[in-house]
């Protein structure tokens, strides 16, 4: 997978490394901005209130 991406990037090794870095940063941005905020409420790590069960758990 990563090898395939590397082979398909244009330019010499330095250019490829730079593009790879930008890709990694873009992925991290998408994760932090969209994926994690969406996933977090679905995971049972951060409920702090007392409630009557299913009603508030949704």
């Amino acid at each position: 997978m990563y090898g395939w991406i590397w082979r398909h990037l244009p330019g010499n090794a330095w250019v490829r490394a730079l593009i790879s870095l930008l890709l990694v940063l873009a992925v991290i941005y998408v994760l932090f901005q969209y994926v994690f905020p969406w996933a977090e409420p679905l995971l049972p790590f951060n409920d702090v209130t007392v409630n009557e069960g299913m009603a508030a758990v949704r």
């Binding site: 977090e40 049972p44 951060n46 409920d47 702090v48 209130t49 409630n51």
Partner: protein
């Protein structure tokens, strides 16, 4: 890919066998890459929930707190409206035991959206919270233990007898902690009753209840701290804090 000398494969392999082997190796390496990627994403999720959400929530909470302070400072002439404006926040909670200068904006509601702003929320559901200025009742609050500001992270540092102070526009409400419940079920809604019998009280009074999750980094149980009003103090022109915060 040079996969020539590999133990069981040491005799000279004929071309078709080598092709099979290459395909197996490619599958294994792709699976490995996927597993490594999954691991990295999970690691990033930990970074996100324990660090990044704090950064964004603190920023948001600071902005909201500044807005409330500004509102109080500019509308100090007329008496009523400021303190019942529940949209921006009703006031600040001070708990010296949770850290020097601990100050936490209190807003209405305990939904994820409210609490994720790095504030404490007062319950509207399942049991409606009383307000500190009500004659009797229980002022019930929740905040995050970890992530999203982690405002109640140090709730376990609170001891019996410690002061808990709520500040609104014109009054300091000084409470004293009298009972701590280090672990209870998350369905234990009785803890936020207007007369919190679980804390040993049978008479109506002016109480405050802090709730969050425990143990840290999980939300299996709830941690409860109860305090009772000792006195109130008028806010003076310089907003001098009461001696309990000194």
């Amino acid at each position: 890919m040079t996969t020539t000398d590999h133990g069981q494969d040491s005799e000279v392999a004929p071309p078709p066998r080598r092709r099979t082997w290459n395909r197996v190796a490619a599958t294994i390496s792709a699976t490995g890459e996927l597993l490594i990627t999954a691991g990295l994403i999970l690691g990033l999720f930990v970074v996100y929930s324990l660090w990044w959400t704090n950064v964004t929530a603190d920023r948001q909470a600071k902005k909201a707190a500044d807005a409330v302070r500004h509102d109080w400072a500019t509308s100090s002439g007329d008496s009523k409206p400021g303190r019942l404006d529940t949209k921006d926040g009703i006031g600040f909670l001070h708990v010296p035991a949770m850290g020097k200068g601990f100050e936490l904006l209190v807003k209405k509601g305990t939904s994820t959206n409210v609490l994720n702003e790095g504030v404490a929320g007062y319950y509207t559901d399942p049991v409606k919270s009383a307000m500190p200025w009500d004659k009797t009742g229980n002022f019930t609050l929740a905040a995050h233990r970890d992530g999203h500001g982690a405002k109640f992270h140090n709730i376990d540092k609170i001891k019996n007898g410690d002061p808990v102070v709520f500040e609104d526009r014109d009054t300091w409400y000084v409470y004293k902690v009298y009972k701590i419940l280090p672990e209870t079920s998350k369905y234990d809604v009785k803890v936020i009753n207007q007369i919190p019998k679980e804390s040993g009280k049978n008479k109506a009074g002016r109480y405050i209840t802090l709730t969050t999750c425990t143990p840290v980094y999980t939300s299996r149980y709830r941690y409860i701290v109860w305090a009772q009003l000792v006195r109130t103090q008028k806010v003076d022109a310089d907003r001098t804090p009461p001696k309990e915060l000194g």
